[in-house]
Symmetry: C2
């Protein structure tokens, strides 16, 4: 397997969001020669969609995903997802990442919550297709099943895709799926058409927080070269998007330093 192409590195802005707004992140990517970016919608709203589109285009960046749609178990899911599709369209995003939402409010009924999620995706899928925005279901780690996403394995995500048809695939985040005994099988099953995004970071041992203690690539236990090999073997040729939620470490550092680490460590993934 060849080394990763530096031109395939993308920055998910969550990685440096504590210190940089979206305009700064765009400039930072350009300055560091990072060719992809994945913004979050709150930052996009703060900057304004038009201005963000202008800055991203003028710097020649590829939008590897918009974070995020989903939360189909929340109250205002429909309008919010419609707006997300419009924004992803405006940005020319390669996909709209769906974090599907956890248990229905006040409920312990996981099967019902999962059914509601599938209904919700089905409801917005026609608009996404019309807008030319692929929807990417991101299976989240099982430790986030209750509060963030009740789709927790690639197999489950792909079963959902199978049920829904065209215009939908998966975002494979190393952090969420690395443990899965069916990882190789399900990445292969997904195939080029449905592998819409690839997110990288690392799993730290010990992990001190369920949400915000992700590691820089190479600092944890995920066999990232193996996973990239599985992705490429299945036909994926897109970006490698670094997404690090790290309250205790990386969010406290100078973003220019963080980007240098990302570029350096990416070469070994």
């Amino acid at each position: 397997m060849s080394a990763p192409d530096p031109l395939k590195l993308s920055l998910n802005t969550a990685t440096i969001r504590e210190k940089w707004n979206l305009a700064q992140a765009i400039e930072g990517c350009a300055r560091h020669g990072i060719r992809g970016i994945a913004p979050w919608r709150d930052q996009l709203a703060a900057m304004g969609v038009k201005e963000a589109v202008r800055a991203i285009r003028s710097n020649g960046l590829t939008v590897t995903g918009l974070c995020r749609g989903g939360f189909f178990t929340a109250q205002d899911w429909k309008d919010d997802n419609r707006r997300a599709i419009e924004e992803a369209h405006a940005l020319g995003a390669q996909c709209l990442v769906l974090v599907v939402g956890g248990l229905l409010p006040g409920s312990k009924d996981l099967p019902a919550s999962r059914a509601k999620v599938q209904e919700g995706i089905a409801a917005i899928l026609p608009e996404a297709r019309q807008a030319g925005v692929p929807l990417a279901i991101e299976p989240l780690h099982p430790m986030q099943a209750a509060d963030r996403a009740c789709i927790n394995t690639l197999e489950q995500a792909l079963d959902t895709c199978d049920a829904l048809g065209e215009g939908i695939g998966v975002a494979v985040d190393a952090y969420h799926v690395w443990w899965d005994p069916k990882l190789a099988q399900q990445v292969a099953r997904a195939g080029k058409e449905r592998l819409l995004a690839y997110h990288i970071c690392d799993w730290l041992v010990p992990t001190r927080d369920l949400l915000n203690d992700r590691g820089m690539m190479g600092d944890g236990v995920i066999d990232l070269p193996r996973l990239r090999g599985l992705m490429e073997g299945a036909g994926y040729a897109g970006f490698h998007e670094v997404e690090i939620f790290s309250k205790l470490d990386w969010w406290q550092r100078d973003p220019d330093e963080v980007l240098r680490w990302c570029k350096d460590r990416h070469l070994a993934t």
Copy 2:
């Protein structure tokens, strides 16, 4: 579905281990009318196996499992598991619970670690069969894949059982498996013969620690009556073993109070 039978409640001594040694736990179970107990081996060693056997028998308790064998990715796994089998035999334990171990030392190779685990179980299985001690693979939550157990789903555990033959089954711990989209399917697949133990507690939202922030039944989001229904539907008629690792809450309380809560909340699971 009928209410749980109070006579099926078992106490995993991890629940009160900060304040009670094994002798106190045995007396406590007897005093509270709890008919099952699952001791840990360090406590067993401290009390002495003979004395523990005597106290457990004289109080008429059922040993619903011995915690634990496993850790096949560690150095001294073979001798340690042999001793565990002997102890489980001496106690008349219904099973020896296997926490299989995480990644091989210094390795990121999950498939190789999993292969090593299967080899290890295969190596000790003949002795377990001879001793009449069923081995119960406990799939652990994926968040513990790196450091505690690289068997992380019921499906994976049952695939391992299929490969190994007689004398081995699974311990279903609600905390570890509640999120699994294939839970119903795999519990049914396991069937009466391979469902060797059923552990209960609850998943708290938020969860503040990956290891030691489990909740009392009813305080979290796990649909325990549904899971009990699945277990009973598959033919399980054994004990319901409460196992709560809770540094921040239950371990700090008076164990007599904890046992009252266990009995009370068990009736609603």
